[in-house]
Point group: C2
Chain length 207, copies 2
């Protein structure tokens, strides 16, 4: 899939078209220069629009960041809850969760960086709302690991610390991943699923 | 140790005193607002100095970032080469490397974030120089893992991918660590040393 097609898919739920163009322009600008160094004028100009046209869709720069960060956080939550609620053994569900999440961080590394690094720039209410989404995301992974411990499939002395480390390992893919690097997003997902199963003391399930 | 004492220790090699004050002011400003949104005037003012006084020590904002990033990169390299060259089994050396590096990322999370997230803002030559330091840092961890594989102590199908994951896990501590959180830097170091020994298929060495 082309990078442009991926971007359209990533923001498919953002309508109308002009709002979607502003969101993709904002992601690029925030990733390049940081949230605080970007003006709404920069974003409008990247989207080929006037500042007044931007204002119809987003009253403030913070609203744009909230839109971007909200979509990113909810995608992660859906992905990890789907894995947690899926069929199969705890090891299969954990491998599935890590494989999809790490792969997504690689494929959407530009958006993922903005989502992670600019959390502190959100307004208080938006920040609190997304912290709650993060807690639920964390809860989905913790649930799989706890299930594995309860079933006697995993050996994990510190469930909450291991949950934190698993999520952190995946999130940091967005920092180091380069599209022209040695590994595809799929390969990163496979490698990480294997490493995480080792972290929880599980044998890798047969594919 | 107080936070102020830690900062003085962190930048002990930066002299004279005025240059050190500028460096700590720049770290704070870059961490809060990002490199591109920070002016040399902001930095001088945080350090209680005039822009002209700043200019005596650093000709550009980029020189300040290079100073900060250079110190951070060289500290990491020294720490990991010391662990790689230390005595003991590969498992002991790997645990030592991860324990110190993860702990350092927690203790110095503000500096570490600036070092990691603003790499792209460095000038071309400085960027190339620090990428070379990163390659050597990577090489130190790879060497320990390879030694463990050669000795038959580790079971690692992908040495370079596992090296990348080990470093990434430690670096991302700077993103999520909070001084008022549940774990001390020492506890993070211990947890991570254990998780990484699991990743490489080694039993934890007795302390």
């Amino acid at each position: 899939m082309s990078s442009e097609a991926q971007q359209t898919e990533e923001w498919a739920d953002v309508t109308p078209d002009a709002a979607r163009r502003l969101v993709t322009a904002a992601v690029e600008a925030f990733a390049e220069r940081g949230y605080h160094a970007t003006t709404t004028r920069d974003i409008a100009s990247r989207a080929g629009m006037s500042p007044a046209a931007l204002y119809i869709h987003y009253k403030t720069k913070e609203e744009l960041l909230y839109q971007i960060s909200g979509v990113g956080h909810r995608l992660a939550l859906d992905m990890l809850e789907r894995a947690a609620d899926g069929g199969g053994s705890p090891a299969e569900r954990l491998a599935d969760a890590v494989r999809s999440f790490a792969r997504w961080q690689a494929e959407r590394h530009t958006t993922a960086r903005v989502v992670q690094y600019e959390l502190g720039a959100l307004g208080e209410e938006h920040h609190a709302e997304l912290l709650d989404v993060r807690r639920r995301t964390d809860g989905a992974v913790r649930r799989i690991i706890q299930d594995g411990v309860t079933a006697g499939d995993f050996d994990v002395p510190d469930v909450s610390g291991t949950t934190l480390a698993v999520l952190s390992l995946c999130v940091d893919v967005a920092r180091w991943f380069k599209p022209d690097g040695r590994r595809t997003p799929e390969e990163v997902g496979e490698l990480y699923a294997d490493l995480v199963l080792r972290m929880v003391g599980a044998a890798r399930p047969e594919a």
